[in-house]
């Protein structure tokens, strides 16, 4: 264990920092070197969804969608228009799909955090069709 981590844990033990603060400090320590030195990855401008027929697929359907990230951010703000009485139905529908999530607990900041982390996202599914979701 390096000195900095040890010091943070000692501060937590002594009650000088809260668990959340310690967690943030440890996460900052674990951040990659290029982020610390100020060299950041280029911002993600578009979310791309590409669906192509797989080798065994009979139908030749193709989908290529490129959505600007700014449009996603703007569109997500419409989530605030979901009436409160609909939250229970949404939670129920999610529960039926096996997703244990309470939509009332999701804040605008949470959504913003998720969207900002999408630049690291790459999903590739290969089956009957090849699906690729990535940022560029």
């Amino acid at each position: 264990m390096n000195e900095e981590r040890k010091k943070i844990l000692e501060m937590l033990q002594q009650g000088k920092v809260t668990v959340e603060e310690a967690e943030k400090l440890l996460a900052a320590l674990a951040a990659p070197e290029e982020t610390k030195s100020g060299v950041e990855k280029p911002a993600c401008k578009y979310l791309k969804v590409i669906v192509e027929p797989g080798p065994q697929s009979e139908d030749r359907d193709r989908v290529n969608i490129r959505v600007p990230m700014k449009l996603i951010r703007a569109g997500l703000k419409f989530a605030a228009f979901v009436p409160k009485h609909a939250h229970a139905s949404i939670n129920q529908a999610l529960h039926e799909k096996g997703i244990e999530m309470d939509v009332t607990q999701i804040t605008q900041q949470d959504i913003e955090d998720i969207v900002s982390q999408l630049s690291d996202l790459t999903v590739e599914v290969e089956g009957k069709e090849k699906v690729r979701i990535c940022c560029e």
Binding site: D59, R60, D61, N64, P68, F81
Partner: protein, 90 residues
């Protein structure tokens, strides 16, 4: 930047049609409609302010404008063995 043109291309073997639609004309009409409707929205917002819905009615205007302004760059291409459709906001 708000998109000024929309490219629509439909390809059906062997022919292909493509048009550049001046969507800025739609935006002009839409903004005019929004201005005309604004007093009614304001009244509706005042009446529903107590229930908390009024705030969202007023918020709808800047949110809608924000979505329109960020449509630029949206590209949707759907292809089939016989037909291809492309919609792109420029």
């Amino acid at each position: 930047m708000i998109p000024m043109l929309m490219r629509l291309k439909i390809s059906r073997n062997p022919s292909s049609y493509g048009v550049l639609l001046p969507v800025f004309l739609i935006w002009i009409l839409l903004f005019a409609l929004m201005v005309v409707l604004f007093p009614f929205v304001l009244i509706a917002a005042l009446f529903t302010w107590e229930s908390g819905q009024g705030k969202w009615l007023l918020m709808a205007y800047p949110l809608l404008i924000s979505v329109l302004f960020h449509l630029s760059g949206l590209h949707i291409e759907i292809g089939h063995s016989k037909q291809n459709i492309l919609i792109a906001f420029l």
